[in-house]
């Protein structure tokens, strides 16, 4: 039995958020603060022949102008391919090349107008598959010279492929020869924008004694610290990253964004510089979710047993890797879906093109991959005239099965999730004309290596400070971590205060990404709280003249088990520790997932590729308007195994929010590019889901505790977005008999497909 864990407590930051008391990076104001602005490249690919910033410097009110990469090192995620401000070549429309800091926005803009640049256009390439053809313009001829993390970034020399991740199991030739039916299809997924409501923002202050402090809206303060220190050449203790409240991330704020420009400007003038993206800049100059093109060949026996799958995925990572290598690596893991397939060949590429860099986006490559796989599964089940749920039940991964990495899976709950989804969507009930139901399975890997640490301080009055390095970006992790600490310490949930990250004081954490906070940081918090509890009990044991093992904490008291008379108030124990015995109570915890082995470069085999996998199932009911081509989603059932819900309201909140992003991907969202230019860079032209369009969403939790995590938790931030689009496409297929291969399922596309089938019928 738990006391706090599992309770639907009100999240600790909710009060400040509903009263307008929250404080985001955009609110940070410092004395003598300047405003920073960027000049962005109008070319998709060009050589910078000449640049003159001298007139910009002379504009009244301008305090600093920086250009060229001379004083800053190239940087990146797993490959350091990105100049902070390119000196020689620009590689996408929107790439920053000059930064200005001024007293006013108007002065900064005037200065940018006066920058003279002469470009020489270079041939460019916008399609990832074309970019891999011999003779395609190379974005990074020097790619092999960049520093990179070999474990997840394996470029193909002489091409634009910055990563290839391969999996080989058995022989697909054999597998397809055993198949009675084979489907082959190519699927495409467009680029999408995170649209965090709080735009990218940072304030940097480089003091005269070379101490750099940065306030920023980020998911990963320590990553930003490391990247900043690297590009500006400062040791880590001179770079301090502070994260106020963060207005959403979804993967878009996992690496350094606008921070280095603010830092370089502040280095010039030693005044704080604030930079905030406009919404337009969010579209053209932040990262996006990867456009992808995925080819699938899938075979099964007459009884519907999968025999082979061949998957080739091209993730279009734009001009720089950012996290594209990791996206293609993670997406590649999903290349056979959540299925038991004896013969597998997967090649997953991240490819440079002359477009805005694509990076992490909720789901890390899995939403794209499972759109293709789960659509192909329905095509094959239709070909074999087997019910799609039955077909999945025959083939899905179960406990003890081997994954494409060869690792043996544990705590797999796909069957349970799918059965629950089938029941809740009323799968077998008849549907009226033009209505249909569709399902899709969900799987997602968490990060491979990921370091977390936590400190629990018990104050003299026994209130608790929980110091962690993962920001609260809306996902509710601060309160989940407080629940874990409160549970273990035997104090009330609201006696625990979680501090927003400050790299000078918070212990290291990899950040709020990849569903990792509850799983990884949760283990560190668990350990830190356990240590603090032991210290408390030790202090009390001495006082109560008892063995610590005989003590328990209950409602503000330490008591000797079974002897109600021998108690000591917790607060008195804590105070005594400060003054008399042992010193202040501070518990530390750290966690690093052990035993992770990099994938074999040729076969993708590894005894343990990532920390854990997550499982779920989506089911939807749709109605298609044959006249207008409109797809209306009537209901979504979203079943996920969260291991153990620390806070059921927060878990369902994560699922609902992610499902709606999945609906956006299914029905509306798509960045349109022409010659590498984003053609719809506004919220008017890029449609995110709005309240009146949202169907009923039924989140269902399956709780199969993970054997190695605190209270059995698994991550739950990402899975909800995965599988929504294929479930919708599958439902549309069952409603009106058309198969849509390209997202989103926009009316024009649906109409065209309907007309094509009617044409065939005639």
């Amino acid at each position: 039995m738990t006391r706090v864990v599992g309770q639907p407590v009100i999240r600790s930051d909710a009060w400040r958020k509903v009263t307008g008391a929250s404080y985001y990076t955009v609110d940070v104001t410092l004395p003598a603060m300047l405003v920073g602005k960027l000049l962005r490249s109008p070319y998709a690919h060009a050589r910078i022949v000449h640049m003159d910033i001298s007139r910009a410097r002379q504009v009244p009110g301008v305090a600093a102008v920086v250009a060229g990469n001379g004083r800053a090192s190239p940087w990146g995620g797993h490959i350091w391919d990105q100049p902070v401000l390119p000196a020689d070549v620009v590689r996408y429309r929107g790439e920053p090349l000059v930064a200005v800091a001024a007293e006013s926005e108007a002065a900064a803009e005037e200065a940018l107008r006066l920058v003279e640049v002469v470009y020489e256009a270079l041939p460019s390439v916008f399609d990832p598959e074309q970019a891999m053809e011999p003779g395609a313009p190379l974005l990074h001829p020097q790619m092999m010279e960049y520093w990179r993390n070999e474990a997840v970034c394996r470029p193909i020399p002489g091409t634009n492929a910055v990563n290839r991740t391969r999996f080989r199991v058995g022989s697909v030739t054999t597998g397809f020869s055993e198949a009675a039916a084979v489907v082959e299809a190519t699927f495409t997924v467009p680029g999408i924008e995170h649209v965090t409501l709080e735009p990218t923002a940072a304030v940097a202050w480089w003091e005269r004694d070379d101490r750099l402090t940065v306030w920023t809206s980020t998911q990963c303060p320590f990553v930003v610290r490391d990247q900043l220190a690297h590009v500006v050449g400062l040791p880590l203790h001179k770079v301090r990253v502070i994260v106020p409240d963060v207005g959403g991330g979804f993967g878009g704020k996992g690496n350094m964004r606008i921070e280095p420009y603010a830092a370089l400007l502040s280095r010039e003038c030693h005044r704080p510089v604030k930079m905030v993206h406009s919404r337009y800049e969010e579209f053209v100059g932040s990262t996006i979710g990867h456009p992808a093109k995925i080819r699938i060949k899938l075979g099964a026996t007459r009884d519907g047993v999968l025999t082979a799958i061949q998957t080739t995925a091209f993730y279009d990572t734009g001009a720089y890797g950012d996290s594209g290598e990791m996206v293609s690596w993670q997406g590649g893991l999903g290349g056979a879906g959540p299925y038991r397939v004896p013969h597998v060949a997967i090649d997953s590429y991240a490819v440079y093109t002359n477009k805005v860099p694509a990076g992490a986006f909720r789901g890390m490559g899995w939403p794209q991959m499972l759109f293709a796989i789960e659509s192909a599964i329905d095509m094959l089940s239709a070909r074999l005239q087997i019910d799609p749920v039955e077909f999945r039940l025959k083939n899905l991964l179960e406990n003890g099965d081997r994954f494409v990495t060869g690792e043996v899976l544990e705590s797999v709950t796909l069957r349970e999730c799918l059965l629950k989804a089938r029941e809740a969507i009323d799968w077998d009930a008849p549907t009226p004309p033009n209505r249909g139901r569709g399902v899709a399975l969900v799987m997602k890997s968490s990060v491979n290596n990921s370091t977390a640490s936590a400190v629990v301080k018990i104050h003299e009055d026994t209130t608790v400070q929980l110091v962690i390095g993962a920001p609260e970006i809306g996902q509710g992790s601060h309160s989940a971590m407080a629940q874990i600490a409160a549970e273990i310490l035997g104090v009330a949930y609201d006696a625990v205060e979680v501090t927003n990250p400050d790299t000078a004081f918070s212990p290291y954490d990899r950040g709020a990404i990849s569903d990792r906070t509850t799983f990884h940081l949760g283990q560190a918090v668990y350990e830190a709280a356990t240590q603090a509890r032991q210290q408390l009990l030790a202090a009390a044991a001495d006082w109560l003249e008892a063995n610590p093992a005989d003590l328990e904490i209950c409602e503000g008291y330490v008591m000797v088990k079974g002897v109600p008379a021998r108690t000591a108030p917790l607060a008195a124990v804590a105070r005594r520790a400060y003054r008399v015995k042992g010193g202040p109570i501070i518990g530390e915890g750290r966690h690093l997932e052990e035993g992770i082995v990099p994938l074999d470069p040729l076969t993708g085999q590894s005894p343990k590729a990532v920390s854990h996998y997550k499982y779920g199932a989506q089911a939807v009911e749709v109605e298609v308007d044959r006249e207008l081509g409109m797809v209306k989603v009537l209901r979504v059932v979203s079943v996920h195994d969260c291991g153990r819900a620390i806070n059921p309201i927060q878990v369902s909140g994560q699922i609902e929010g992610a499902v709606v992003q999945g609906l956006g991907l299914a029905l509306w969202e798509a960045l349109q590019f022409e010659d590498g230019q984003v053609m719809n860079p506004s919220l008017m032209d890029y449609h995110v889901p709005m309240a009146p369009e949202i169907p009923e969403i039924v989140p269902i939790l399956v709780e199969c505790p993970h054997p190695h995590s605190p209270f059995g938790v698994k991550g739950i931030g990402e899975p909800g977005i995965i599988g929504v689009a294929p479930a919708v496409a599958n439902a549309v297929s069952r409603a009106v008999g058309i198969r849509i291969f390209d997202l989103p399922l926009a009316p024009e596309r649906v109409l065209r497909a309907l007309q094509a089938t009617q044409g065939r019928a005639r």
């Binding site: 958020k17 009263t19 207005g247 309240a691």
Partner: protein, 158 residues
């Protein structure tokens, strides 16, 4: 010019240029931060306030034209140190995540409850058509507001 407003029930005044949006005046001159800038184009609703009782996107309203007007923001929803029923419902239902959209939704909620005491979930969702939330998926927001409507406790606070 000098702009006079009744801001959350208090008379205030400040300097204001002829082309200054209300959002900028609130942020820069009156230090009211709860209306958030999410787009500056009247598409996201994060900057929503009640202006003379009407729900507006303050990023696209010129403040100078509203001298003497009444402005209510999320900062003004609490009464006597107690949360407004809609704020309470947002807490109970988990209707705020990152919170950046929240003040805008609260104002839209107060507006729809003032207009119709008992809006249906559909009417509520429709009334939120000018507000984007990228985190919650809207369901908990609509449920929270509907909860208030059902209990008839919206009141005429604003």
């Amino acid at each position: 010019m000098t702009l006079h407003l009744i801001l959350n029930g208090m008379p205030v005044s400040c300097e204001c240029g002829p082309s200054e949006p209300l959002l900028e005046v609130l942020h820069e001159r009156l230090n009211v931060r709860s209306p958030r800038r999410g787009c500056d184009d009247s598409y996201c609703g994060a900057c929503s306030v009640l202006l003379d009782g009407q729900l507006v996107h303050s990023c696209t309203v010129l403040a100078a034209a509203f001298d003497g007007s009444d402005v209510v923001t999320a900062e003004g929803l609490m009464k006597d140190g107690r949360l407004h029923p809609v704020q309470e419902a947002f807490l109970r239902h988990g209707a705020t995540q990152c919170g950046y959209c929240t003040a805008g939704f609260l104002m839209a909620a107060v507006a729809v409850l003032n207009e119709s005491r008992t809006p249906s979930p559909n009417e509520i969702a429709n009334a939120m058509r000018g507000n984007i939330c990228r985190c919650t998926g809207y369901q908990k927001i609509v449920h929270a507001i509907h909860d208030v409507a059902r209990q008839g406790e919206g009141g005429d606070f604003a």
